[in-house]
C-alpha cells in the first residue's frame, strides 16, 4: 500500500514518518516508531490503554488515524520521564501500589497527567470523573485514586 509522509513532534522531537493511510496513530507509534509503551487493549476506544496526549488533549490513539497527526504534537508514555527522572504521576503510581499488571498503567498515567494539567488539585469525584475512560481490571481503582491525589499534592 502506498505510503504518505507526515511530519510531527513526538515527545518533543520532530519526526518524519512514512505511514499507510489505514494505520492508526497507535499502530504507527508502536510498530513504526517502536515506542511500545502505549498498549492496545481493545482497538475500539473503550479501554483507554492506548491513551496519548495530542496538542494537549487526551486521545485514544487506537481511534485516530496516523495521517490525522500530521503537523501535530504527540506525547506518549515514553515522553514523561525526563533525564531518567520519573514524572511525579509515575512515581506516585509506584509508591501507592497503583500499578499491578501494568497493562492499563501507561494509558492511566497519561489520563491522570492530562487531568492534573487541567485540574491541579482535583477532588476524589473529579479524579473518578477524569479517569472514567480508562479501564483497570486489577486494582479496583482505589490505589489509583490515591496515586493521583498523591501526585496532585506532590505538584503543589
Amino acid at each position: 500500500m502506498p505510503k504518505q509522509l507526515i511530519t510531527l513532534i513526538v515527545n518533543g522531537r520532530r519526526t518524519e514518518v512514512a505511514v499507510e493511510p489505514r494505520w492508526t496513530l497507535l499502530e504507527m507509534v508502536r510498530e513504526e516508531l517502536r515506542l511500545s509503551g502505549s498498549k492496545e487493549g481493545c482497538g475500539t476506544g473503550d479501554c483507554g490503554a492506548c491513551s496519548m496526549i495530542v496538542d494537549g488533549r487526551l486521545v485514544t490513539s487506537c481511534l485516530m488515524l496516523a495521517t490525522q497527526v500530521d503537523g501535530r504534537d504527540v506525547v506518549t508514555i515514553e515522553g514523561l520521564a525526563k533525564n531518567g527522572r520519573l514524572h511525579p504521576v509515575q512515581q506516585a503510581f509506584i509508591d501507592t501500589g497503583g500499578v499491578q499488571c501494568g497493562f492499563c498503567t501507561p494509558g492511566m498515567i497519561m489520563a491522570a497527567k492530562s487531568l492534573l494539567d487541567r485540574t491541579p488539585s482535583p477532588t476524589l469525584e473529579e479524579v473518578r470523573e477524569g479517569l472514567a475512560g480508562n479501564l483497570c481490571r486489577c486494582t479496583g481503582y482505589a490505589k489509583i485514586y490515591e496515586a493521583v491525589m498523591h501526585a496532585a499534592n506532590a505538584g503543589k
Partner: protein
C-alpha cells in the same frame, strides 16, 4: 538443604525487618514508563502475524474449506485449514487438544483456519477469501434445557477428558463421575451427602427455597491473549506468551506436539492481567504454525476474538433449600448446582459443590452437582472459579433466614461458621481458618457501621456476605545465589502475576537479614528456572514462597559454613546482619557478603559457589476466607444501583507485603462488584455472543467504584511462609451476595438473578 522451620509462636512475635512491611513492586518503574515488554511488544526477525477465522455458527458441520484464493492474495505467506496443520495429538474431548476442528464446530467464533503474513492487515484481508461451507446443526444454548433428555446433543460424545488444568486452581482429593452410558449433555456429576436433609428441614423454624442464576462473565484482563512462537533449525521450540502457567504449557506442548520437554522453552512474558483465564489456550496453534513455516509467528487476539473464543467463567443455576431453627442454627442444606461448561468439559462444579455447603456447620447436606455442555465457548477459571455463583445462593439464604427470624446477620453467621476441624461437604476436615475472624473484622468496618444509620433513609441499604476459597496445591522450587559483589539473586519458575517476586525478595532479605535492595528476583523460563506449578489457585506465595525461604536458609547455611571455616569457629557462634557475618560479639572477625562472594567465585577461590536450593511439596490446604460489606443506593424509578461504599476483610494468614495484599483484595472485590452490577455475556438463541466488546460488556469503571476499604485479617496458616496463606482469589467471591443483601436491605426484595441490572431491579420491584 536446610531443615525447614515450622511457624513457631516466637517466630510470629519476632519483629521482622522485611516481611510484613508494605513494599512497592520491584518491577514498578518498568511498568510506569512503558518499558516493560509484554508479548505483543516483541519483534523478531522474519516474524509473521497470524490472523484467525472464526466460525459464524455455534454448531455446524464443516463440509469443505478452501484456502486457495487466500493463498493467492499478495503478501500472504501461508494459509492453514485443518488439512494443512502439521501432525499433532488431537483430542476432541478437550479444548486444548484441538487447534481447528476436523468436522464439527461447537461454538460461535471457534477458530477454523488461519492466515500468516508479515503485514497483519494483509493476513486479515485474506481471511475473507477463505471459503468454508457449513452445514448448520441445532445449537443448544441454555444449560437447563440441555439437561433434558429430549435435548439435541451439543456435540459428538466425549472420550478422554483431561482435568489437569482445573486441578491447578483447586486441589482436593475428590473425583467427579465422568458421564458414561447413554449420550447426554451432562459431562460429569457428583454428589455429597451427610445426615438426613428431610429430617433437618422438619426440625427447623424457617425453610427458604429459591433458584439463583449468575451470568457468563469474562476475565477481561486488559491485555488480550498474546503469543509469539519460534522453531529453530536445531529443533528447539521457543514460546513467549502471556501465561500464568509456563511449565504447564511446556508439558502440554510436549505431549501434543511430540517434542521432548528439554527442547521447549516457554517464557511467561509479563502478564497484562490473567485472573485464571491465561493458562493455556492459543499457544498450541501458534507453536504448530511456527513449526510448519519455520519462522517466528505472533498471534494477538483482538478484543472481540478474546471475548468469543477465550475461556470466560461459567453461568450457573443453583437450586437451594436451607432451614434454620429460631435460635439461628442451620439444620439442613439441599442444593442442585448446575454449571454451564460450554462446548468442552472444564466447569468448576467440584469447588462449587464444596463451597455451597462449605461455609457453615451443617449436619444434614445433600448437594448434587452437574457439569453441562452447551454450544457456547468453553469456560475457564476466573479467580476462585465457581465460588461466586454458589456464594450468591448460600449467602442470600443466610440473610433471608436471619431476616425472617429477626436475627442479626453477623450473629447468625458467627453461630454457624466453620472452624478448624469442621468437615467440608466431602468430609475432609478444615485446617486452621479465619472465617470467624473475618466476620468480626467486617463488623468493625466503616461500611457496616452505617447499617443502622442508613436504614430507612431513602433507598439505601447495607448488606454483607462471606466467601472463601480452598486453593490449589503443587510442588515448587527456588534457587538463591550469592553474587561475587555480595548481592543476591533469586530464581523461580512461577509467573509473577500479583507481585509475588517482590514478596520473594522480602522473604530472602528477611532470612539473610539484609536490606531489600540487596536482593533481586527473576522468573526464569522453563529451561532455566527450577520447577513451579501454575500461578493459579492463589498458591504462589504459599508454595513457591516456602521454597524461596528454604533456598535462602540453605544459602545462609552455606555462607555461615564458609565463615566458620575462616574463623575456625562453629557456624552457630556466628551472626548475620546487614550483609556481614561476624563471630558473636567480635569486631575483628567479620566477613562481608562481598568478601564471601569473592571467596566462593574468584579464580582459585577456596570455597564453592553459594547456591541455595529449596524444594517443597504440600498436601495441606491454607484456605482463605473473606467477609465483605456493601452500602448501596437504589433508584426505584430507573432501577439503577449505586455502590456508595464497599469493605473487604480477608484472612491473609500473614501479609508478607500488605501493599500487594490490599491490592489483591481491592482488585478482586472490584471484579465481584462487576459480577454483581453489570457483567454479563449475552447470547442469542443461536448461541451468538451479542456484546463482544468492552463497551457493551460492562466492567466497572471509576464512575462505578468508590474507594474499597481493605481490612487485612491474619490467622496464620500451618505451612505457609511466616504463616501466609492463599490471597489472590477469595476477594471476588462475596461481591454479588453482599450487594444483593444490601439491595434487599434497601428495598426489601432479594434479586435472584445476577447481575443486578436496572431491568432486573425494576422487575423485582414489580415495575416491569
Amino acid at each position: 538443604m536446610a531443615q525447614e522451620t515450622e511457624v513457631r509462636e516466637e517466630e510470629m512475635q519476632r519483629e521482622y525487618r522485611n516481611v510484613g512491611k508494605p513494599v512497592t513492586r520491584i518491577e514498578g518503574a518498568g511498568k510506569v514508563t512503558g518499558e516493560t515488554i509484554y508479548a505483543d511488544d516483541m519483534q523478531l526477525p522474519r516474524m509473521l502475524h497470524a490472523k484467525v477465522l472464526g466460525s459464524p455458527y455455534a454448531h455446524a458441520r464443516i463440509k469443505s474449506i478452501d484456502g486457495s484464493a487466500a493463498r493467492q492474495h499478495p503478501g500472504v505467506e501461508a494459509v492453514f485449514t485443518p488439512a494443512d496443520l502439521p501432525e499433532y495429538k488431537k483430542n476432541f474431548s478437550n479444548r486444548r487438544g484441538v487447534i481447528f476442528p476436523d468436522e464439527e464446530v461447537l461454538f460461535y467464533g471457534q477458530p477454523v483456519a488461519a492466515v500468516l503474513a508479515s503485514d497483519p492487515h494483509v493476513a486479515e484481508e485474506a481471511l475473507a477469501l477463505i471459503k468454508v461451507e457449513y452445514e448448520a446443526l441445532p445449537p443448544v444454548v441454555d444449560p437447563i434445557t440441555a439437561m433434558e433428555e429430549s435435548s439435541p446433543l451439543v456435540r459428538s460424545p466425549l472420550g478422554d477428558v483431561d482435568r489437569s488444568e482445573e486441578r491447578g486452581h483447586v486441589t482436593v482429593g475428590v473425583e467427579q463421575e465422568e458421564a458414561e452410558g447413554k449420550p447426554s449433555n451432562i459431562a460429569s456429576q457428583m454428589n455429597f451427602k451427610r445426615g438426613d436433609v428431610e429430617a433437618g428441614f422438619e426440625q427447623a423454624d424457617v425453610v427458604v427455597e429459591h433458584t439463583w442464576r449468575s451470568a457468563v462473565v469474562h476475565q477481561s484482563y486488559i491485555e488480550p491473549h498474546s503469543t509469539v512462537a519460534d522453531y529453530d533449525a536445531s529443533g528447539e521450540l521457543s514460546v513467549w506468551t502471556s501465561t500464568q502457567a509456563p511449565f504447564y504449557i511446556r508439558d502440554e506442548l510436549s505431549q501434543t506436539l511430540g517434542l521432548p520437554e528439554n527442547k521447549i522453552r516457554v517464557t511467561a512474558t509479563e502478564v497484562g492481567g490473567g485472573f485464571g483465564g491465561k493458562i493455556y489456550l492459543q499457544e498450541l496453534m501458534v507453536a504448530a504454525l511456527a513449526m510448519a513455516v519455520r519462522r517466528p509467528v505472533k498471534y494477538i487476539m483482538s478484543r472481540k476474538e478474546d471475548m468469543l473464543a477465550a475461556t470466560p467463567a461459567p453461568q450457573a443455576v443453583i437450586d437451594l433449600k436451607t432451614s434454620m431453627t429460631r435460635d439461628g442454627k442451620l439444620t439442613a442444606l439441599k442444593s442442585r448446582v448446575v454449571y454451564d461448561s460450554g462446548a468442552f468439559p472444564g466447569a468448576p462444579m467440584l469447588p462449587g459443590c464444596l463451597l455451597v455447603g462449605g461455609y457453615y456447620k451443617c449436619e444434614n447436606l445433600d448437594i448434587q452437582g452437574y457439569e453441562v455442555l452447551t454450544n457456547k465457548v468453553s469456560v475457564g477459571a476466573l479467580r476462585a472459579p465457581g465460588a461466586h455463583n454458589v456464594t450468591f445462593a448460600i449467602e442470600s439464604h443466610m440473610d433471608m433466614m436471619a431476616r425472617e427470624l429477626g436475627l442479626d446477620p453477623i450473629e447468625v453467621r458467627l453461630k454457624n461458621a466453620v472452624e478448624e476441624g469442621d468437615p467440608l461437604p466431602s468430609g475432609q476436615p478444615y485446617p486452621r481458618i479465619g472465617l470467624k475472624q473475618c466476620l468480626e473484622a467486617i463488623a468493625e468496618s466503616e461500611v457496616w457501621g452505617r447499617r443502622n444509620r442508613e436504614r430507612g433513609t431513602g433507598n439505601r441499604g447495607v448488606g454483607l456476605a462471606v466467601g472463601g476459597w480452598l486453593g490449589g496445591l503443587q510442588p515448587a522450587s527456588a534457587i538463591v545465589c550469592l553474587n561475587s559483589d555480595g548481592t543476591i539473586n533469586v530464581t523461580v519458575g512461577s509467573a509473577d502475576i500479583t507481585g509475588t517476586n517482590t514478596s520473594f525478595a522480602q522473604i530472602t532479605a528477611e532470612v539473610l537479614n539484609v536490606p531489600l535492595e540487596m536482593v533481586n528476583v527473576t522468573t526464569g523460563d522453563t529451561r532455566t528456572a527450577p520447577y513451579a506449578g501454575m500461578s493459579a489457585g492463589s498458591k504462589t506465595t504459599y508454595t513457591v514462597g516456602r521454597a524461596v525461604k528454604l533456598a535462602a536458609e540453605d544459602a545462609r547455611q552455606q555462607m555461615l559454613e564458609i565463615a566458620a571455616k575462616r574463623f575456625e569457629a562453629a557456624p552457630k557462634e556466628l551472626e548475620m546482619a546487614d550483609g556481614v557475618v561476624r563471630l558473636n560479639g567480635s569486631d575483628e572477625k567479620t566477613l562481608t557478603f562481598q568478601r564471601l562472594g569473592r571467596l566462593s567465585t574468584n579464580f582459585a577461590a577456596p570455597f564453592p559457589a553459594v547456591v541455595g536450593r529449596g524444594a517443597i511439596t504440600t498436601r495441606k490446604m491454607a484456605p482463605g476466607f473473606t467477609a465483605q460489606a456493601a452500602e448501596v443506593e437504589v433508584d426505584t424509578d430507573t432501577g439503577e444501583v449505586t455502590v456508595l461504599g464497599f469493605a473487604v476483610a480477608q484472612d491473609a494468614g500473614f501479609a508478607i507485603n500488605p501493599l500487594s495484599v490490599e491490592g489483591q483484595m481491592q482488585g478482586g472485590a472490584s471484579q465481584g462488584l462487576g459480577i454483581a452490577l453489570s457483567e454479563e455475556m449475552m447470547y442469542d438463541s443461536e448461541g451468538r455472543l451479542l456484546n463482544g466488546n468492552l463497551l457493551d460488556y460492562r466492567m466497572p469503571t471509576t464512575r462505578d467504584l468508590p474507594p474499597i476499604e481493605a481490612i487485612i485479617v491474619e490467622v496464620p496458616s500451618e505451612e505457609g511462609p511466616y504463616g501466609a496463606r492463599i490471597v489472590g482469589e477469595p476477594s471476588i467471591v462475596a461481591g454479588a451476595a453482599a450487594v444483593g443483601n444490601a439491595i434487599a436491605d434497601a428495598i426489601g426484595v432479594h434479586l435472584t438473578d445476577a447481575p443486578f441490572t436496572p431491568e432486573r431491579v425494576l422487575r423485582a420491584l414489580g415495575k416491569l
